[in-house]
Symmetry: C2
Subunit: 149 residues, 2 copies
Amino acid sequence: MSDLSIGRLSALSGVKVPTIRYYESIGMLDAPPRSPGGQRRYGPDHLERLRFIRHGRDLGFGLDDLRALQDLSARPDQSCDEADRIARRQLLDVERRIAGLEAVRAELLRMVERCSHGVVDECRVIQTLSDHALCAHDHAGGHTASKAG
Amino acid sequence: MSDLSIGRLSALSGVKVPTIRYYESIGMLDAPPRSPGGQRRYGPDHLERLRFIRHGRDLGFGLDDLRALQDLSARPDQSCDEADRIARRQLLDVERRIAGLEAVRAELLRMVERCSHGVVDECRVIQTLSDHALCAHDHAGGHTASKAG
DNA sequence: CCTAATTCCTCTAGTCGCTATAGGTTCAAG
DNA sequence: CTTGAACCTATAGCGACTAGAGGAATTAGG
């Protein structure tokens, strides 16, 4: 039973259809059997794996990490030190990003609070960007991440 | 005076050499005059503009926003409402990302704290990834941003 | 003045994790 | 049996860079 179309798999997993095909193309997800007409037909294993990936992505893990974690989960008798190591690294990364963003947030708050809504020449927003010396904190660093879609 | 090489401009601005050329290629930075041999020679205006961009990038603004803010700062008599709007939008975005990352952090903490360092089969890290129902909070959403380089 | 090391040049392709589009085929409901 | 939705492949694009090849210019030292 099952035999899910890619659309139903997408709905059940929360992963978009083109993303599922993308995962297959980069080897994150096994290629499923096809219908006589050539369409993908998935089973429950695929759904489980996709949910694993989705959950991991939500937690900010990269696909490489998730591949490693998936490989580990396929060998249940091994020590989980490696999984623990990956998760701790991710935790540190997230905390580093939070710290960076907190500094940025403080600076942005200062900027907009001091904007007197006059003309550009006196605008704190522009002034602050032009002159880092106006900043209260050091907010430079690798915390800047692209906005999520 | 000045007449900075791209390398010195890079050192003074904190923006890497290839990035400066990239900015020129996408119109973020004016093309400077060239030496007789064809190398770029920058003046203080370029340095100022690059620092503006760098500071804005550190605060998480996209290049499009910075282009708009730069255009505004070139017209000092205009109202700064637009600059304020852009900064507030950025602030909200940063706060949304912090909130998402906080939820993720809580979940990762739960994962690694409960890891008993046994075998994979009993590993909380793997278990949690496999089953979202084990999560305390809802951490799904658009907070996931790529790691900064 | 000459050489050698460093910096600079252009161009192309790769990163990450998708997303979008074009142009065509198959499937499932009525 | 028809229709329209969902599917297929393939390619290109996003943001903001980064890396590498292969060569030319500059600069510091002798």
